[in-house]
């Protein structure tokens, strides 16, 4: 019997299975209904949306699918929403997954966590629970969620789980409404609650094609400024960039449209039982009500993954800073209606990130944001202004360090569950 540190095991195991196309990472959206009405959310629907509710997989359908993904080799499973506890039978779904030997992570906003739910999770511990905190103050939190009383309900949920020792992490998303409280939330989580807390600044259009979340998206320079204010974060970008500083197309996968783990070692299933590469991708879906998971994985997603090729030589194809960019076919679909069309916003963020960590950007086609490009001057001006602001804070300035080394690899910095190791 070998005992390995979990992190070592996870990295080594992902390496071992990556060549075998085993679906070890799964995401199941149990519902898109949610009691909150967050302006940035990419998929939330109203709690009383009867159409959404009636089209969701039944408990028996969930059990069947859970058995099938377990048999196919799924080990890490993420349950997400909407809000997972909006389904009254969620704990029954969870229990079945737990008994199947899956390592389960739960994404929740915490507002519907009751003592009964907390007791159950303490008895049948998940691998991890991640609660999203939307503001440090009640005013900011509820301005974003749109629901009076939701701040107190979230804190109650956090305390119920924490008191029982359920493995809990907090996270937040930085948008215009709460950007002034991001580090207060991190401090609150770490210092007052003793909980790990991370934040993300990248948000997507809604999967129904609405661009409404983008109204509260931060500017590229604000996103990079947040990176620079968090030492761990900037170190992580440097490390990621040093591993993946070349075009993400390898010899084996040259020409393939997708370059993430989606369809290779990960998959997503939506509330209606539609199987896809990831939660963001809405184009290629296999109906698990009409066929089994194995058929969907081995035939349908295999074709999506291996047979979809790059058809246009965009500036992204040869880009060597793609590791710092969230551009992927799903983001292209959502923001431009085209999986290959570069998302301008993501391109700006990636170029600023490269400047922030002192990384040279090799030429990669007609890129507006590279030196000599039409958008370079404006981007540089915004970056320099941000840099000047950062210099006001010596703790931030000292974190500017060049990337030390570059090595081969693949990856991207997108925000879905298919990117990067767990």
């Amino acid at each position: 019997m070998e005992m390995e540190r979990y992190k070592d095991f996870s990295l080594a195991f992902h390496d071992r299975v990556s060549a075998n196309r085993i679906p070890v990472n799964g995401t199941i959206e149990v519902t898109r209904r949610c009691p909150l009405t967050c302006a940035h959310c990419y998929n939330n629907l109203a709690m009383d949306d009867s159409g959404a509710r009636s089209s969701e997989l039944t408990l028996d359908e969930h059990r069947r699918i859970l058995d099938e993904i377990t048999e196919a080799g799924c080990l890490w499973l993420l349950f997400t929403g909407g809000e997972i506890f909006a389904r009254r039978d969620f704990l029954d779904i969870y229990a079945h997954a737990k008994r199947n030997g899956l390592l389960i992570t739960l994404f929740t906003n915490g507002t519907l966590v009751t003592p009964r739910i907390a007791d159950y999770l303490a008895e049948w511990m998940p691998f991890s629970v991640e609660i999203t905190l939307y503001g440090r103050t009640r005013e900011t939190y509820e301005r974003l969620t749109g629901i009076p009383g939701s701040y107190d309900m979230c804190l109650r949920g956090i305390h119920l789980l924490k008191e029982r020792g359920v493995p809990l992490k907090l996270k937040t998303v930085a948008v215009t409404i709460n950007k002034h409280e991001i580090f207060d939330m991190v401090r609150f989580s770490k210092e007052e609650l003793g909980l790990e807390c991370k934040f993300d600044s990248m948000i997507n259009p809604r999967i129904d094609c609405s661009q409404s979340p983008l109204a509260i998206r931060l500017k590229p320079e604000e996103i990079v400024e947040f990176d620079l204010q968090d030492a761990e974060r900037i170190d992580a970008w440097k490390s990621f960039a040093s591993k993946y500083t070349r075009p993400v197309q390898s010899v084996e996968t040259a020409g393939e449209l997708y370059h993430c783990g989606g369809g290779v070692n990960s998959f997503a299933i939506d509330p209606q039982g539609l199987l896809s590469i990831c939660v963001l991708s809405q184009v290629d879906k296999f109906d698990l009500r009409q066929g089994g998971f194995r058929e969907g994985w081995e035939h349908f997603l295999y074709k999506v993954r291996r047979q979809k090729k790059i058809s246009t030589m965009t500036k992204c194809v040869d880009c060597q800073i793609k590791a710092m960019c969230g551009m992927c076919p799903a983001n292209g679909e959502l923001e431009n209606g085209d999986p290959e069309s570069p998302v301008d916003f993501l391109c700006q963020v990636a170029h600023m990130r490269a400047q922030a960590i002192g990384m040279r950007v090799p030429e990669h086609g007609a890129c507006e944001y590279c030196e000599g490009g039409s958008g370079y001057a404006e981007l540089k001006e915004a970056f320099d202004a941000m840099h000047r602001r950062s210099k006001m804070n010596p703790d931030v300035t000292k974190r500017y360090l060049p990337v030390a080394s570059q090595s081969a690899g693949t990856g991207c910095g997108g925000g879905c569950a298919s990117c990067g190791p767990k």
Binding site: M1, E2, M3, R5, F9, G101
Partner: protein, 84 residues
């Protein structure tokens, strides 16, 4: 419980306060056979005989290996000893 994925047997915690994984246990072939033998109450002698037959080793050597393995499982709280 165990999960066998890509030729690897992984011990996955299911119930009680074993959710926070700092470490994880994987089993080799013989460990997997022993673990499966423990799905029903068993003793060292029975398991050692099965191992000796399967891997063509002397029973006393198999018994020593099985005892050592069971001790490690017991120390980590993965099994408990009961009276016959």
């Amino acid at each position: 419980m165990t999960r066998s994925i890509a030729g690897e047997t992984i011990l996955v915690p299911v119930q009680n306060r074993v959710g926070a994984l700092d470490s994880i246990y994987t089993l080799n072939d013989i460990g997997t056979v022993i673990w499966k033998a423990l799905e029903a109450p068993s003793d060292i002698g029975c398991i050692a005989s099965a191992i000796a037959d399967e891997y063509e080793v002397p029973t006393e050597i198999a018994a020593g290996d099985v005892a050592e393995f069971l001790e490690r499982l017991e120390l980590t709280g993965l099994i408990c000893r009961t009276e016959a």
